[in-house]
Amino acid sequence: MQLKNIDRGGAVLAIAVLAILPLVFDSRYLIGVLTVAAIYGIWSVSWDFMSGLTGRENFGHSLFIGVGAYTAGFLNTVWSMNAWWSLPASVVMAVVFALIMGIPTLRLKGPYFALAMLSGAVIMQRLMLIFWEYTGGEEGINGIEPLIRSPLHFYWFVLAVLVVTTVVLVALARSRWGLILKAIRGDEATCQSAGLNVTFYKIASLVISAGVAGMGGALYAHYQLQVSPQLFAVVTSITIITMVYVGGMASIYGAIGGALLLTLMTELLRNFGEWRLMVYSVALILILFYLPQGLVAPTWERLRRSLSGGRS
């Protein structure tokens, strides 16, 4: 029981710090960095929910992000619909893509899902360039309206979305559902022989993951006020995967720590501009070799254990 209280306390403290930080240091720059970090947090958390729990790594999470962002862009500019429609619409579109990609590939064992997602994202990025008459090509779609005018209020909204999705996903991960997903990672065949519809659970978790990621994409579109094919890029997916690895796989909340840490590091590396992605790729290799458990979640585990007086 005490552990749960420590968890809750830590979460409330973290949320409070994140929410109050822009009031203490009043700068638009800081608000921008935190907004981006929170959006990356949403993406990382959603990636971790599907891939971390089931062990089916998704190399094309950018597909759902891009689909969500472009949906928001289209609705808002081409059909000039109210910006708030973007959120439900992007969730629906991302879910449609999740079903298209998930149903053929998640029935199967082996690496098909990981590679098909990678292919899907690469091809979608190409299609955005090829059909430039509709998608704006390299420039993408510009002139998207902000969801909330005040940057600070928008940041708080994004933070709230992040907190709600994290709470829901952590609750799901700690429920029977999450147990089944973790069991699938452990031994799929045994789950099947226990009468579980393994394919259903995998596809359903992909659908949830994609829906959240798509909504994150829409938030990003309304933050940047434009979308570009770069959203579909493999580096977007890899950035997210690196964040989850830094945070610690399958912990879900750790992914937020990873997203914050890496986004802030990126800002510190601003001067190195072009080296940013190189740093990410090398960091990923180093983590895979030396810190396969990640950084944030294991640190928290250790901290809470010492706080609770050695009880594990």
């Binding site: 053929p104 690496p111 098909y112 590679l115 990678l118 899907g120 091809i123 190189m278 790729s281 290799i285």
Partner: protein
């Protein structure tokens, strides 16, 4: 009509060179190598550096580049992939990370603009009323020769039998005293060299820029799914199917839609026949 036959054959030849290496290293070592496209990109960039900057003739540069990339592939397998081989996902992650490191290195050194790789032959040939660049026909010939040589190597040499043995039954092969770790290095070198050769041959008529490694991975994956993971004859047949399907779409509908063919083929095949046309068989 003849146009479709010729251009389809050239496209298929490049795809086959890429897919054969990709499927070979999977069939033998169970390594799904997402850095495979990087070998192709390094081939094209290597040829560019040695000819345009170092001023070597292409005929000299080609074997140097192929050898260099083969050694690089061997190094990647030895240092990065081998410690991770227990988990297939870790291999996927690490090889994708390697691919991005290579992409970023190329970007930092050469920038994102397109580079020109010189061609072996500049003449245009006229076959039955169709103008074909000599380079494309040469690519076709080189691809057939390279894959033929690989086939002969695997079928006729001692090392080839060892590769075949491991692909059929890794444990039994090890009991027979075949040093599988060393063989994996050799196979990785073969696979990387073949991809580099494809990059050098296709470089003159493709866009050579840092992110060029991604599409080959998409195509190689589609081919391997259609042909069956690990089957080389399967990947050759599937390369022909994909090459011609794309050419037909380009001529019949529009070049815009060609990129969809590979993903559609992948998903369709996974629904209809996930094992691929040639199923799980030994490497050859």
């Amino acid at each position: 009509m003849l146009e479709i036959v010729i251009f389809g054959a050239v496209t298929s030849a490049i795809y086959a060179m890429l897919a054969v290496g990709f499927t070979l290293i999977f069939g033998v070592a169970r390594i799904l190598n997402l850095a495979h496209g990087s070998f192709y990109a390094l081939g094209a960039y290597g040829a560019y550096v040695l000819t345009s900057i170092a001023g070597l003739p292409l005929v000299v540069a080609t074997p140097l580049v192929v050898l260099g990339v083969a050694l690089f592939g061997m190094g990647v397998e030895r240092v990065l992939i081998r410690p991770m081989r227990k988990s297939q996902l870790a291999v996927l992650m690490i090889s994708l990370a390697v691919a991005l490191v290579v992409e970023q290195a190329l970007f930092l050194i050469f920038g994102s603009e397109y580079r020109n790789v010189p061609s072996f032959v500049d003449t245009k040939l006229n076959i039955g009323g169709v103008d074909v660049a000599g380079q494309r026909l040469l690519t076709l010939v080189v691809a057939v020769a390279a894959i033929g040589a690989l086939y002969a190597f695997i079928q006729r040499t001692r090392l080839g039998s060892a590769i075949l043995a491991i692909s059929q039954d890794p444990e039994a092969a090890q009991y027979m005293g075949i040093p599988s770790d060393r063989i994996f290095g050799v196979v990785m070198a073969l696979s990387a060299g073949l991809a580099a050769l494809a990059g050098i041959m296709a470089g003159p008529f493709l866009s050579v820029q840092p992110s060029m490694h991604l599409l080959p991975i998409v195509k190689a994956f589609a081919i391997v799914v259609v042909g069956g993971l690990g089957s080389i004859p399967g990947s050759i047949v599937a390369a022909l199917m994909l090459g011609y399907a794309e050419t037909l779409v380009a001529y019949g509908i529009s070049t815009s839609w060609t990129e969809i063919v590979s993903v559609a083929a992948t998903l369709l095949m996974l629904v209809l026949r996930p094992a691929g046309f040639f199923g799980k068989r030994a490497a050859f």
